[in-house]
């Protein structure tokens, strides 16, 4: 949100190679918490912010996606690179601060050279000095400044080292800015020119790098003082020094990229990631679950037996509880993904998978977007921007909704809990892993099929490429990972919370009204109130002695059928009846149908809508919410056939349905935005939802055929 005056304050754009520390610096200056990841290509969109007031500097800073060169290699890359000159929303760059990974000086100076040649006002921020030092090298900022004609500052955006000096220099330069005469292209940019630039760079490199004793402690200062002395010693640098790769990285990669062990490690890492989501979270989820179960009970105790009480305890608290109960899983998912991302492993994963993925029309670079699709499809689809080739990018976008996003966790958790005894979380973990593997395999098969059928639609000039830098392994910064995890959990609650609340309210309304008292006037007064209460207020039921007494013993089954009779006359029932014919073939009835319709706005709502529709009756001894739903599910009968509604077969069918169905409107929206048209999102909705239905049908009847009902 920029105001008029914002246009007049200077715009400082952070530029640099992927993974050179732009976002880290941006976050430090702006106080924002954008994701920083040890993977080239973590930022895909420009983001702007005001510099924090404590730096006493009135300016906007713009974070940018990493680029290797100002000259784009593909149409999509061109779009992003062009924003460097003039961002349509954020305006013209007044000053370019280039983050330059000092441990890769020669490779990254190319971009600096290009920027200078285009007349950008450039300030170099040297990062990753710790890594350079570990290689036994250091760099002279003064010399580099002298040779490039730019101001140079050493920084570490993670803890703020050198930022004060950087700001001082930025302020000095801002005052000197005059007319912006940036050139939009480089003259005669060809191979010979690149080679020429590199040979200039090598001269600079020789002058500015010098070796130091391998660092053991924090005695950097001493080394800087000794610069001159060391420089003489340093002329033997040709045969080692700056061309050495971090030793630890090489030794780790001997395993990680090993012909055989590499694969084993990959499989182990992936399966650990997904199983731990389930079993690490289980005890925490129990806590949240119990808390909301009790809260709902207290609420209905306090409010008594009425519609308001029902709304609060059943609609609001139960709805909220059904979202929050999954916060532990979300936290663990993001925590593990965060650790993985920050370690540097992801680029290796991408490399490992490039060949098989290329076979089905994807790219090694599809791996990271697909993996983040397990958290949420929206950032995942945006992350595909790192894929140069348009066809590969669109195909990746196409299949991302098949990755089991975190919104599906609540659904799977509930359905698996129905199938698997509670005291065996390990089996549930394995089952969840199986679902994940199944969804991955399905997505790969679908990608392969789509790829085969669209082979002819191959635009010329669209080169398929996989060139990726494998970053130095780093010890994940725990606090950054934690911050990011917290931010994501927060977002999950913020996003899901209101949606779930509103939907729960709507659903509560639809299942409660129209009230049928008048119609049932013939029935005696008490039983008609009982009807309504039964239908709408399970928690109130427990606390109302009179009704509970009536509701005991043999009358139980009686009153249950009355309850359902009641529900089918509600608005929800009327809607449900319309879709009943679709649900019957899956062995399900209209009540599940209503829940499924609701999930098209947000999958998470499935749990609370099941709770509302199946009229959770709380166990008296156990204040647990999920147990309540499970119990009512076990008792539910199919209204059409009178048979048990939820069986192993129908539950498996439901799981399969959720694996495929495209049920998220935000995903449709982002897919439209990123592909620039309706074709792909519409295809996704039609193909995936159709497939979901067919596959669920096959599952239910296939299982029945082999004797599992």
């Amino acid at each position: 949100m920029l105001t008029e005056t914002d246009n007049k304050i200077p715009l400082i754009t952070l530029l640099g190679h992927p993974n050179s520390g732009k976002t880290t610096l941006f976050n430090y200056l702006s106080g924002k918490k954008y994701k920083t990841v040890n993977y080239p290509g973590s930022t895909v969109e420009y983001s702007i912010s005001r510099v924090l007031s404590r730096f006493e500097f009135n300016a906007n800073i713009l974070d940018s996606p990493g680029i290797i060169s100002l000259i784009p290699c593909s149409p999509d890359e061109k779009l992003s690179v062009n924003y460097v000159y003039n961002h349509p929303k954020h305006g013209k760059t007044d000053l370019a601060v280039v983050t330059l990974d000092a441990s890769q000086l020669s490779r990254q100076l190319l971009l600096v050279k290009q920027l200078i040649e285009c007349n950008f006002k450039v300030i170099i921020a040297l990062t990753m000095l710790d890594i350079l030092n570990k290689k036994g090298l250091d760099i002279s900022a003064e010399k580099l400044s002298e040779l490039t004609g730019c101001d140079v500052v050493k920084i570490d955006g993670r803890d703020g080292d050198g930022i004060d000096e950087l700001l001082k220099i930025i302020k000095e330069n801002i005052n000197k800015i005059n007319e912006n005469n940036v050139k939009h292209s480089l003259k005669n940019y060809d191979s010979a020119k690149i080679i020429q630039l590199y040979s200039d760079i090598e001269k600079i490199e020789k002058e500015v790098l010098f070796s130091i004793e391998p660092l053991t402690g924090e005695n950097e200062l001493i080394h800087i003082e000794n610069v001159n002395k060391k420089l003489t010693v340093l002329n033997n640098y040709k045969n080692n020094g700056h061309r050495k790769i971090d030793k630890n990285t090489i030794s780790i990669d001997r395993f990680v990229l090993h012909k055989f062990w590499g694969l084993i490690i990959f499989i182990a890492v992936m399966s650990l990631t997904f199983t731990s989501i389930f079993w690490l979270a289980a005890p925490l989820m129990d806590l949240v679950d119990t808390f909301f179960g009790n809260l709902s009970e207290i609420a209905s105790n306090v409010l008594g037996n009425n519609l308001l009480s029902d709304l609060v305890s059943n609609g609001l608290i139960a709805g909220l509880g059904s979202v929050l109960v999954f916060v532990p899983q979300i936290v663990i998912l993001f925590l593990i993904l965060g650790l993985l991302e920050d370690s540097g492993y992801l680029a290796r994963g991408a490399m490992l998978l490039d060949k098989p993925l290329a076979k089905i029309g994807l790219n090694g670079r599809s791996f990271v977007p697909m993996l983040s699709g397990f958290a949420c499809a929206i950032p995942a689809i945006m992350a595909t921007r790192t894929i140069q080739n348009r066809r590969e990018r669109f195909l990746t976008i196409f299949i991302i909704p098949l990755m089991s996003c975190s919104a599906r966790l609540p659904v799977y958790a509930l359905l698996l809990a129905f199938l698997i005894p509670q005291d065996k979380p390990f089996i549930a973990g394995l089952a969840l892993t199986a679902i994940y593997i199944f969804s991955i395999l399905s997505s790969l098969i679908i990608a392969g099929v789509v790829n085969k059928f669209t082979k002819r639609i191959k635009s010329i000039n669209d080169n398929s490429s996989f060139i990726i830098e494998l970053p130095t392994y780093k010890k994940p910064k725990i606090d950054t990972v934690l911050k990011n995890t917290f931010k994501n959990a927060n977002q999950y609650v913020k996003k899901a919370g209101p949606v779930i609340l509103v939907l729960s309210l709507i659903l509560w309304f639809l299942t409660t009204f129209p009230q049928q008292n008048q119609e049932d006037l013939s029935v005696n007064k008490i039983s008609s109130t009982e009807l309504v209460l039964n239908a709408t207020s399970p928690f109130a039921l427990i606390n109302s002695d009179t009704i509970k007494n009536q509701n005991s013993g043999e009358e139980n089954s009686d009153s249950e059928s009355e309850t359902e009779y009641d529900l089918s006359k509600s608005y929800a029932g009327m809607i449900g009846k319309i879709i009943e014919p679709v649900m019957i073939p899956l062995g399900l009835d209209w009540r599940v149908g209503v829940s499924l319709i609701v999930t098209f706005s947000a999958r998470e709502v499935f749990v609370s809508s099941m709770a509302l529709i199946f009229k959770v009756t709380e166990d008296e001894d156990e204040g647990k919410f999920q147990e309540g739903i499970l119990n009512s599910m076990r008792e539910a009968k199919n209204e059409a056939t009178g048979q048990q509604l939820f069986t192993t077969a129908t539950i498996a069918g439901l799981i399969v349905f959720f694996v495929f169905a495209m049920q998220c409107l935000s995903t449709v929206a982002i897919s439209k935005k990123e592909t620039g048209g309706w074709k792909i999102p519409i295809l996704q909705v039609v193909v995936f939802t159709g497939l979901a239905y067919v596959m669920a049908f096959i599952t239910v009847h296939g299982l029945k055929l082999i004797g599992i009902s």
Partner: protein, 72 residues
Amino acid sequence: MRSASELKIGEKAIISDIDNSNPSARRILEVGFTPGEEIELLFKPVFGDPLGFSIRGTLIAVRSSEAKCILI
């Protein structure tokens, strides 16, 4: 003339030229594979492709079809 895609694991070579007919040639140059630089093939994981090279003190993975334009 050999190309970098034919190197064996642990084998070092000096880049002699870049084959400009390959559509990825320019990006290959830009990431630092310039004539005269020493490269080493360090990793060749499970599927044998892409290849992990050391170049200018960094590890870079390159598809072998693209590494073909790096002549040694």
